[in-house]
């Protein structure tokens, strides 16, 4: 977690009742939501169940596999081990916010399609968000750098090779487009 936020209530006032509701404000893909959530409620459940953004998946519920990856104030985080209250005040981007419109894919998505960087598609939203972040930090990575970068996220189908192909292809497309 890199984001820091003012707590919704003063420290002295924190209610230890797990069922107590806490008001939070989060901006998801540009839309601001004001919600009241249990202290234990996970960010992934807010996204999937409360906001019905089901492109973010859960795979292990333990923060290992990375299929629940979203971007919180720009940085990828595991939404399955992030409490919703931790995202109070944050800007969240999910896979639904990646493509510019309903007809056009983002260059990273397009490259995944061209290179078949996916099979079952379950890790794909997290992978796409992670590759986007990698390319923002390093617009022209080597294959080894891509591998190291995506080693945060598990894929059980592809053996990663075509994901690396897709990341390299996306980097080239984005370099041409910029």
């Amino acid at each position: 977690m890199t984001a820091t936020h003012e707590p919704a209530t003063g420290v002295d006032e924190i209610d230890t009742d797990p069922a107590a509701l806490h008001p939070i404000t989060i901006t998801v893909n540009g839309t601001t939501h004001r919600l009241a959530v249990e202290g234990r409620r996970l960010l992934v459940d807010v996204l999937r169940q409360d906001l019905r953004l089901t492109g973010t998946h859960t795979g292990c519920d333990q923060g290992v596999c990375g299929v629940c990856t979203v971007r919180l104030d720009g940085a990828t985080v595991r939404s399955c081990i992030t409490l919703a209250v931790q995202a109070d005040g944050a800007d969240v981007r999910t896979i639904e916010g990646v493509a510019p419109d309903t007809r056009t894919l983002h260059p990273v998505q397009q490259a995944f399609w061209e290179k078949q960087g996916l099979q079952c598609g379950f890790c794909t939203p997290g992978m796409v968000l992670r590759v986007q972040e990698i390319l923002e930090q390093n617009p022209c990575p080597t294959r080894a750098q891509v591998r190291e970068g995506i080693s945060s996220n598990l894929c059980r189908c592809t053996g990663y090779q075509f994901i690396v192909d897709a990341a390299v292809e996306a980097a080239e497309r984005m370099a041409e487009g910029s």
Partner: protein, 818 residues
Amino acid sequence: MTRTTDNQADVPAPTAPHKDMKWIGRSVKRVEDPKLLRGLGRYIDDVVLPGMLHAVVLRSPHAHARIVSVDAERARRAPGVVAVLTGPEAAEQFGPLPDSGPAPDKHVWRVLAADKVHYVGEGVAVVVAENRYQAEDARALIDVTYDVLDPIVDPIAAAEDTGNLVHEALGTNVAYERTFTFGEVARDFADADLVVRDRLRWGRQTAHPLDTTAAIGDYDAGTGEMVVHTNSISMTWLAFGAAVALGIPSNKLDLRPYISGGSFGSKQFCWRSTVTAAMMSKITGRPVKYVEDRLDYQLNGDQHGSDRYYDVELALMRDGTFRSLKIDCVDDYGAYIQFGVGSHGNALAQVTGPYRITSTEYRVRAVLTNKTQQGAYRGFGADAGNWALERIVDKAAAELDLDPADIRRRNLIPPDAFPYHIPSGNMYDSGNYEPVLDHALQRFDYDGWRRKQEAMRAEGRKIGIGVVTANERSVYGATEFWFWFDDKDVPVKTTSTPEGVSMTVDTVGAVTVTLYSTPFWGNSSDTVAAMIAAEEFDVDPADVSVVHHGTKGGLPAAGPGGSRLTVMLAGAITGASKKIKDKLRRIAAHDMEVDEADLEWVDGGYQVRGATDSRRGIADLAMLAYLVKTALPDGEESGLAADFVYDHPHLTMPKPDRSDLGSFYPCVGHACHLVAVEVDEETGSVDILDYVAVHDSGTLVNPRSYDGQIVGGTAQGIGTALAEEMTYDAGGNPLVGTFWDYLIPTALDVPEVNFGHEETPSPITAHGIKGGGEAGRLMAPGALSAAIDDALRDHGVRVTELPATPERIVGWLQGQGG
């Protein structure tokens, strides 16, 4: 030796791969992908029905214990709870789960344990609440009293134990035992110059798709109809099994398929989630969702892989020519045996691999222990079988001081011997193995690598090279379900493994394909269907609509499994397309007032042979078929629709004495994998330096998708070889429960695979296609094992147990076995 050859007449000679195809053989972008890339896949857990409740299962903490009592009263009063069903209550209201094992009445398998728990993780009760948080809260309030029993963990000891039994009614922990003798084994062993022996251990693993198994039951108490939305079992032909367990008429049950984030075999027949969700919906009258969490999948998902102890003997001549093979296998099935010993049928389908071996003895003992039961994992027993065979071949090469590539080459079945019957009776439809080996050696630069290896070893580096040449059987046959037993003990000798499709061409000529079996699991079912249909009708695959139909009212369909789906869909869609094209031809001939025989199909329409000005395009003809009845020939029905059920392409019956199992897995591909590794003596880590995979699965449909399957399967095989293991302690407690300790390969653990293709078409399938979905995982474990041996040959280390974890390798280097 004498083999049944009476079916060879049916098998035409292989043809050259089709090169005049528009779509087949092209790397087409998959039609499934745009929605997946946008996060709009609609996996089962994305689905919300009005009034839907959430189920969680209380799992046993004990490996072996009697259930004295289950008190759920506190849970029933907890906030949000709608229903709790305990194991004893469930046994009164619902039937056992469908069990294809021997004597299922003596090891009754239920969705919840009724009187005894048989493994850590077995379900004891289900809680249903308004949301999952509340359901999990309430689960913690269920009080179960257990009478803890001694755990049964070691299968070798369990096989001899008659006092402490997993299932008392069975009277033994050995659920199945038989020795098959195919050909003159005793004679061939007596005639051999030498016999090489090995004792091997294939560890327990599991597929671990990132999306677990899940279902939503939706019962209508008014009509008695049960709809189950599911990402697992939804094949029409055996759906009645779920109806029996649920106590509803089979024609009131509809299993509706949803895409799934991976299966790798583990969702093929997966009854538990479907029955859990459906029974709780029946009880509550509301839709109920049950989604396995990672622990549910791992401990109570019925999907562990083979867990085998092998004694292998290879009889051969001093020049390296193989004669005969004996395999004695103890397989630790865990607490139940849902598919019988079907995974040994997969091994028997290619028991002698790509080699000329004229006789085989195969003994299997299926032992029950207090562990999670086996299911299917990519290869379904042929993974372990290939590894065991390649291990003994490497040992033979070492004993004779032959190059491992050379000993393989001299034993490969020659191309003029196909169709070839192996000792167990299975037929290999076609093959040309030596070009695959040559291709791989060249692509790898085998001689160059051997030179590099010597130079690097001279610097003290532990470099090893491994090679395997092995087969992938595809398209399983139903005799595999029962040939284990004598004919008198088989109630129905099943021979069908159908795959039905429906096709329509609509009023404006647009094509729709309806599939009736389990849908997209990552295996590109929609793209395959679209490409085959596009090939037939000369349209773009992106313009073909693919529909997944539920089981109710559906055509017979068996779904993925045994790398069959592409072959079966190609057969079915080709068949249905022909029916529609024949009708289009009749309509065109009638409309043009010419003889049908004078028409030819060219580029999406019929024309008089050679006369392009006489064309009737598919859209013109479709318009007539739907809107102008008076333009149709007499008796022709309006519309353009056809069903076609394709069934197994080549099945023959086993002999009554089971000296020959017949042909049941006939579409057989081949591959050669070559790998160079470096082993770190201090840490035991294995670094992959180079990896080549050359495969021949007949005609390629979508090469990029196929390569994706090869790379992905190879990655799983690398996990199998080096890292993945479901371990238990002596008390039957699983030592692995998360992805922190069950180590799925990351992007840093797998290499860039350098892949190549050969294409030897099948003579018995549409377009010559063979299955290839499991091929990567069937090769990699053997290749890695051989490379580690080679790297550590100065230490006398041999990989005899998988996974070859760093810990094990260090132990072997310190002289602790191996």
